[in-house]
Amino acid sequence: MEQLLSEIVAKYNYWIYVVLMMIGFYAMIGKRNLVKKLLGMNIFQTAIILFYVSIGSKRGGGIPIVDKHAAMLHGVDATGVVNPLPHVLMLTAIVVSVSVTGVALAILIRIYRKYDTLEEDEILEKIGR
């Protein structure tokens, strides 16, 4: 038990990522309201962003901006700075997730205008009629 606990504490960011991802996944699959589904999708994507950012971080790592002269004299100490690449990748992923959310919201407005509701059950009922 204690071993498990220390395991969780040592890698808490990865555990949070798993928990967030499951919350998002549940909302996407389990909820019947379309906006809640969309929020679930956002939580899911945020979990992945947390995962990537965790990869790059280092204990005691500084920001990856180095002094040019110092770097040319001594080179760059890779242990002293966090890895910037995963952060950069996530900038792209955030752009993707924002645009998907935008498209989804626009489509939700169209659905609401057409059916006057965003509950999936009610929409399906109206279609069936």
């Binding site: 969309l38 899911f44 998907v100 659905i111």
Partner: protein, 497 residues
């Protein structure tokens, strides 16, 4: 013209045209047709020359902006990607010609918006085919997905709701893929496919590698609509505007299967994919066999031509996944050949559906009566497409199915052979039912009262349909040279047709 940058122009032409269409299309509708067709003709021509160049000189890699890999993003032009480049641009060109008419009919006043998304989607598909970088692939996958969501939502009726469901499922698929890339990045510290492939075999972390592989595969399976992850596909593809459906249905699933082949053989090695985990390979062939049977069964229950075609498409996806996972040269040859053939058959059938819907406004089975008399040329092309889907010899569908069955026999998977045969039988039932309705049943009074139904679709819709029907027979007769000259070179190392 033999510049080393040719494949980049193939990619850039539709992307730049997308913006031109948006700007000039606002000024005048007449600009749209020449711009779109011109750009895609250029792309198709360039893709053909790229393929000939690759066949003559061999595969090459291209770095964009001279940032050297593994840090920079590189494009990989090998025989397989050059073949896919030609396939995508040719299918897009044929589908666009028909879409010009049907969009003007269905979405009057919004053509420039439609074709902006349409051209970006084509550019995204071409990029997916070329890229040699795992993260770049994710971005392009989302570019194609977002444009597809928009295009589908432009349809009428339930299209917006179908598009929303597709967004949810598509995002799950893309996120799984992204997670898989993340695990690979932790393991190797690089995102370049060739670089990952070099580093992976030397690592001793079987659980992490397996996790990455599983995430990548499941992500792509959701994206391609492999049964039972297909639920979003039939609604989305059958309710899209006809012009969009005729391009999305043949290309999206095929390109995703190409990506699966890339992940299996270019990032991971065939040895890892097929041998590292006992039972996985056989299990997936079993799953594909079940998927073929279930999807074909569901197709039987449909009462609308386009919905029926989408369920057949789901079955065809399982053909190709199963074919690749048979893990022998014959099966993989069959799968790659089937990517080409299925893109053309689906294109032919969807173009025929677009022509019918343009004239009659409906694809419900009870409205198809007497169509052979009213639209003989369209229905002749439809019949060729249907025969190819069933697998009647002179058409190309027969040859890829032959290779798939032969591969399954050699690999010792009788269940896959059975599934293929049963699915062909069901296809025969499905299509002969339509042929019977459209050929023998007299036109109903309901449809006779509408005067616009008489006659064929306009030439802009009819000519791509006829071209695709001719291509079905031509590819069928040319299967031998196609396999010998192109697909043999496109096989993963260690496999022969």
């Amino acid at each position: 013209m033999n510049t080393p940058n040719l494949h980049l122009y193939v990619l850039a032409a539709p992307l730049l045209t997308a913006f031109a269409v948006n700007l000039l299309g606002r000024v005048s509708r007449t600009w749209i047709g020449p711009l779109v067709l011109g750009a895609l003709t250029f792309s198709a021509g360039g893709a053909l020359m790229t393929l000939l160049h690759v066949l003559r000189e061999g595969a090459f890699r291209y770095t964009i902006g001279n940032w050297q890999p593994p840090l920079g993003i590189e494009l990989v032009v090998d025989p397989l990607s050059a073949l896919m480049l030609l396939l995508v641009s040719a299918v897009a060109l044929l589908a666009t010609s028909s879409a010009l008419k049907s969009v003007a009919h269905e979405l009057p006043g919004r053509e420039h918006l439609f074709f902006t998304l349409y051209m970006i989607l084509i550019a995204g598909l071409l990029g997916l085919v070329l890229t040699g970088d795992a993260f770049n692939l994710y971005v392009l996958l989302e570019i194609t997905a977002i444009t597809t969501y928009g295009l589908i939502a432009m349809g009428s009726g339930r299209a917006a709701l179908s598009s929303f469901n597709y967004i949810i499922m598509g995002s799950i698929g893309a996120c799984f893929y992204l997670l898989g890339v993340g695990y690979l990045y932790i393991l190797t510290g690089t995102l370049n496919m060739a670089d990952i492939a070099q580093i992976l075999p030397g690592l001793d972390a079987p659980a992490a590698i397996a996790t990455a592989f599983a995430f990548l595969m499941v992500g792509l399976w959701v994206k391609m609509g492999l049964f039972p992850l297909h639920v979003w596909l039939p609604n989305a593809y059958s309710q899209a505007p006809t012009g969009a459906g005729a391009m999305i249905a043949p290309l999206m699933t095929k390109v995703t299967i190409y990506l699966m082949i890339r992940v299996m053989f270019s990032i991971f090695s065939p040895d890892y994919t097929f041998l590292a985990h006992a039972g996985i390979q056989a299990g997936i062939v079993w799953a594909a066999s079940l998927a073929i049977m279930c999807a074909s069964g569901l197709a039987l229950a449909q009462r609308n031509l386009r919905r029926m075609l989408t369920y057949i498409l789901v079955a065809e996806v399982a053909y190709m996944v199963g074919g690749v996972w048979l893990a022998n040269g014959t099966g993989i040859t069959g799968a790659i050949l089937h990517i080409v053939n299925d893109a053309m058959m689906t294109l032919c059938l969807f173009l025929a559906a677009a022509a019918i819907i343009y004239r009659t406004g409906s694809l419900e089975f009870d409205r198809l009566n007497g169509l052979y008399r009213r639209m003989p040329v369209t229905m002749a092309a439809f019949t060729v497409g249907a025969f190819s889907m069933i697998g009647v010899p002179p058409t190309c569908g027969f040859f890829s199915k032959w290779y798939l069955i032969l591969g399954a026999v050699r690999a010792g998977h009788p269940e896959f052979v059975t599934a293929l045969l049963i699915s062909s039988l069901i296809n025969a039932v499905l299509f002969f039912r339509i042929i019977e309705l459209a050929y023998f049943q007299p036109a109903s009074d309901l449809s006779r009262s509408e005067p616009q139904q008489a006659g064929e679709a306009p030439l802009l819709m009819l000519s791509p349909l006829l071209l695709s029907a001719v291509a079905l027979v031509a590819i069928g007769l040319g299967s031998g040279p196609l396999i010998e000259n192109i697909i043999r070179l496109a096989m993963p190392p260690g496999f022969a047709p």
